[in-house]
Amino acid sequence: MGNTSSMLTQYDIEEVQEHCNHAFSQQEIVSLYHRFCQLDRNSSGFITGDEFLSVPEFAVNPLSQRLLRMLDGLNFKEFVAFLSAFSPRISLQQKIECDHYVFIFPIFFFFILPLFAVEHHILFWVVLFKVYDFNSNGKVTFDDILSVLRDLTGSFISEQQRQEVITRVLEEAGYRRDSSLVLSDFMRILGSSQLKMEVEVPID
């Protein structure tokens, strides 16, 4: 499915479904395909950053640039795989297929994973982590958190206040200013919060 033909065959749909671990139903995948073709203006088979930014609701999002790094140049299969992080269907499959994801995560996940109440698709955590981990080294430092907070708050909080906030909450949670967080830390910290990361795919 390198080039976007206007028709999806049953085989294509099943292949994509496999790839995203059945996070979407077949109807939703067809719907997403129409959406992909609509966004991919020049029918190149992938959506460029510019084409994503032509959606005004996406362009006004403060985290759009960070997401674009993950989204740029995705073909349809990878596009659906990315969106499966936001699927309302709770994935009970704990098996992680390494070759499907472009993200790096440590192998010891197989063991850590069952320990936490993982209510969300594993990709959800990876996306969340990747937004913070800008240089993709698997660790989120104080500066990474600061930079995301800067994107989210703009000029409405002073830099000093931002640093103060982060230092304070880190200390309260038992970390030092120079400690770095890994994916498992994220899952532990946020695991108990009510995270709502679900997007419904409209079926035409």
Binding site: L32, R35, Q38, L39, R41, F52, L53, V55, P56, E57, F58, A59, V60, N61, P62, L63, S64, L67, L71, L83, A85, F86, P88, V127, L128, V131, Y132, I145, V148, L149, L152, T153, G154, S155, F156, I157, Q161, V165, I166, R168, V169, L170, E172, A173, Y175, F186, I189, L190, S192, S193, L195, K196, M197, E198, V199, E200, V201, P202
Partner: protein
Amino acid sequence: MNQRVGTDSSPLRFAACESASIPLFATFIGARRRAPPARTHRQIGSQLVGRRILAAMGGLDSSSMETDLDRPNIEEYLTTETIREVPKKLHLSDLLDISPTLTEAAGAIVDDSFTRCFKSNSPEPWNWNIYLFPLWCLGVVVRYGILFPASFSWLVSLSNLISCMFCRVGVLALGWIVFFAAFLPVHFLIRGHDKWRRKIERKLVEMMCSVFVASWTGVIKYHGPRPSRRPQQVFVANHTSMIDFIILEQMTAFAVIMQKHPGWVGFIQKTILESVGCIWFNRTESKDREVVATKIREHTQGVDNNPLLIFPEGTCVNNHYTVMFKKGAFELGCAVCPVAIKYNKIFVDAFWNSKKQSFTTHLAQLMTSWAVVCDVWYLEPQYIRPGEIPIEFAERVRDMISVRAGLKKVPWDGYLKYFRPSPKLTERKQQIFAESVLKRLEEK
């Protein structure tokens, strides 16, 4: 559409209109649904009521209202629900929790209200079984083979001149010939009697537009009183295609504000439409706005000018939605007469997607379909109310037009097709988040 389009605009009516439309915007948290819970819309309505009451009481500074209502509905539609009523202490988990923002971004990728406005909705194919398919083939033959062309060999072989009359291209060609035969002498020879010249040119343009409409077998139903030629009035309509102008021009010779086009359309703009007093603009030029605004003002003052027609959306929309109206037409201090146009989808999809097809292709598509059926409603002239700012006035008129034509409203500026959204919108979101963080920081 059983609401009376009229003068009363209680805020509740605004809210009621909203509930008629499919909710197109994500809230900060959560699943995007097809039909929103009704209370969301009432909340939106009541927030607007609150704002307006405050403004009316002079509670809010008017200039801040102006900037606040630059996009009057955006904040309401993108309402954040993360700000809880009782701010709790800030924890690390709260700081790291960017899931609402991410969900919103993903929601925008999956479906967004702006791109929907420009989607061509082709009708369901109906020719899919063994009985209907041959009929459809016959239809194709009739549309492309008989109605459309006017090739001479066809004429000769039929040796029937009348058949040429019913061929659309033939009709069009004949129309152009008659038009130019009359227009050119009138335009260049009758120099002295300007008033007469103008009158004749106006009639000729109206006739030419009727020929155009006939060439697509246009069935247009006009409702409401015909526009009259008076000073201090401006007409606004929703925009689906350049043929909107032709359809309206058939009834009354309007002076219209148009984007300058290249090619044969540009040629016609320069030669013929100058005579009805059209005003040109260029979207890409930044200084253009003031120049055009001045020209518009002069035109509405003039007594003898043709009534001015403006499409405040600024771009073609697919006749299911309306995008935000530009306030230029609404701050002239004169009467605004709304016109609502709705095309019947069954016959042809009249939306001109200017990025996908040229105007010539679009016209050819219209000429090879069965008919162009549409309704035009001339609505009651509106005046700006005391205490109402131009943007609110524009929204009120957009409301009227959307209700009449059965369109859904969308809070985006049509120009976002060509330009990126203003950073002010992002800043607004940043401000909301920053305030919530600061508030919770103070809680010990």
